[in-house]
Symmetry: C2
Subunit: 387 residues, 2 copies
């Protein structure tokens, strides 16, 4: 798995010319971060993280899960935070605070308020993110203590500590810091590690000194090409959060392609580190009748357990791809899909990454999705823990 660990290792990431890769512990200017152990995880691992922008004139945007069973921190962010001017985020990785009722909501609110108080910020400018066990009340004594000690240990080189402290069962921290045309972007993410009795939660935090005039549009566009193109097991978490903060202090806009490259690399690391994953696939659907059709077919193929086991088993099984495409197009006219229309040869290869291409012969639209394989370890991770 180490082949895609670290920055700009995936062949599918287009890196803009001239990008300089910095120490990933180093955050973008005017940002500080920390990660400490507050005791939620119980094993001494770090589980409480803070990131703060020291520049008052920050602009920000947050993408929050659409899951109707959204966790308390998601509801607090939606209802009680100024998502366009977030100065800081407080994260715990021991308890998702989901399905915890009104108590959970007030705990998430108190977590936000405690972080704001420790940082000397307005409460509405602090976002809350949580991941870990669900249905268990949050141990607020631990959280309060952790926030205090994290606030005391904030540092401009806290990227690694932060990235590590937001992990659950991730096999490696996912983070990078890059510089191009006088602009720095740092980012930290966590993905598909399983926490009992839980499921994958995607968290990502991005800091930059670029001038970002419309952070919501920038984040939405870069996420549409990265986090919204990946699937581990087709499941959407109750806690997914992606946050972008930009100070503008560099006096320059985001270089073209930089945010896309950062988010896609982190997204691909999340797929590669998916539960039990051993390989990453990319399915490209071409010649679809419409964009939505291309997306639908690509997702049906990426989520097919038969295709995912073929990726694991290195089986260039175009028949399973044809079947998944046919299912997605149920009731439509579709030409016969065989080896001439489906390129599945890379499934059989030794590479970590395998590209599939399907040409539907129905039009000009195309779409792609990245996906993990389905392995013995996926079943083991998800079946062997008993609550």
């Amino acid at each position: 798995m180490s082949a895609v660990s670290g920055f700009f290792r995936s062949r599918w990431v287009t890196v803009p010319d001239g990008v300089e890769e910095l120490d990933p512990a180093q955050l973008a200017p005017d940002f500080r971060a920390a990660g400490v152990a507050c005791g939620l995880k119980g094993d001494g691992e770090t589980d409480l993280a803070l990131v703060v922008c020291d520049e008052e004139a920050v602009s920000s945007s947050a993408l929050l899960t659409a899951n109707a069973a959204a966790a308390a921190p998601i509801r607090v962010c939606r209802e009680r935070c100024e998502l366009g001017s977030l100065r800081a985020a407080v994260v715990n990785s021991g308890n998702a605070n989901a399905a915890t009722g009104e108590q959970g909501y007030s705990d998430a609110l108190e977590m936000r308020d405690a972080a704001a108080s420790s940082l000397g910020l307005e409460p509405e400018t602090v976002a809350v993110a949580e991941t870990g066990v669900i249905g268990v009340p949050l141990d607020m004594d631990s959280v309060r203590g952790g926030i205090g000690s994290a606030a005391d240990s904030l540092t401009p080189s806290g990227g690694d500590a932060f990235a590590t402290a937001i992990c659950t069962t991730d096999r490696w921290p996912k983070r990078c810091t890059v510089k191009l045309d006088g602009v720095t972007v740092s980012a930290q993410a966590k993905g598909a590690g399983m926490m009992e009795p839980g499921f994958a939660t995607l968290l990502c935090f991005v800091q930059t000194d670029a001038e970002v005039s419309d952070p919501e549009a920038s984040l939405r566009e870069a996420s549409a090409a990265s986090f919204e193109r990946i699937t581990v097991d087709g499941q959407m978490s109750t806690n997914d959060t992606v946050l972008l903060q930009a100070t503008g202090s560099a006096g320059r806009p985001l270089p073209k392609g930089l945010l896309d490259a950062v988010l896609l690399q982190l997204a691909l690391e999340i797929v590669a580190d998916g539960e039990g994953a051993s390989r990453v696939g990319r399915v490209q659907v071409e010649e679809a009748a419409s964009q939505s059709e291309a997306e639908r077919v690509a997702r049906a193929i990426a989520n097919s357990p038969l295709v995912k086991t073929a990726l694991f088993g290195r089986d260039p099984n175009w028949g399973r791809i044809a079947q998944a495409a046919g299912m997605a197009l149920a009731g439509e006219e579709l030409r016969e899909l065989g080896p001439a229309e489906i390129d599945a040869a890379e499934l059989a290869g030794e590479e970590l990454e395998a590209q599939l291409t399907v040409r539907l012969g129905r039009g000009d639209a195309a779409a792609h999705v990245y996906f993990s394989d389905l392995t013995y370890d996926y079943v083991k991770l998800n079946a062997e823990y008993t609550t």
Copy 2:
């Protein structure tokens, strides 16, 4: 698995009072069947099956897969058969004849014609069904020979031979014959056995001497409560076929609930015999805002790999069920789902069958879906064969 093998063993099948269970080899009156080895499978197993109605005045109906990559036999049935007056069906279980181009279509047509000729029937009154490898040309010499010898060995007690010959990697033949109020129903099915490089195909053949005034409506209704409520891996085959033939010679209508019970028992056996399956789940969604919402949520839960591994791991993990429900209702208002709304206790039980109930608190609609668990053997079966 033996606990659900055999007729009327599932607790979820409502058996009408007074049902008599007959020898499953025995077909309904005026039907004969046979199963022979024609060499397609290569291991000497039977792989060519015929069922024929000796009564000219037969009424029939066929449900055919909606998969847009439908196989040649499906297209032949749709385009070249009189689905309302089918006298016979010819089946091979060694070659799905899918993704085989125009040659495959003409082979399926020739298979139909050869069967009709051997039986002395009009070609349009013979249905064709095929399952097995895909993308491989059909060995017509073997098929022709098999049809001839199957036609020679047709017998009223051929139900077992037929049920066995339509199997692929099914662990047991699925069939039954029952009698109630002077009406006999016999049925044979195959399910989710994997054939390289293939995927599950559902085939079911039902014979009765009842008077069925609207066989399409009867079949659609009984299938809606059985075959359309099951999922093994969320995949729809290119070859799925369900066929009902009724002679009316009993002079009586189908007793209420009889066809439902037969098809549901066979459907549950198909789930129980799903690839690598070790348990069968039934998820009941209640208090949904609409029927379609209840269905959507039930299917999202039944197809969630996290719920399926929890069924395998005997983990009463209500959190995964809440998450799948929340995903299905993305963007909607949903009350928090916890242990009070989700009854997942049977997941932890020792029983083969486990019932889950979810109460959404949004309205009065309800729906249920049956599903298999996700096991090591599923991954093994689907990953270890390399084409």
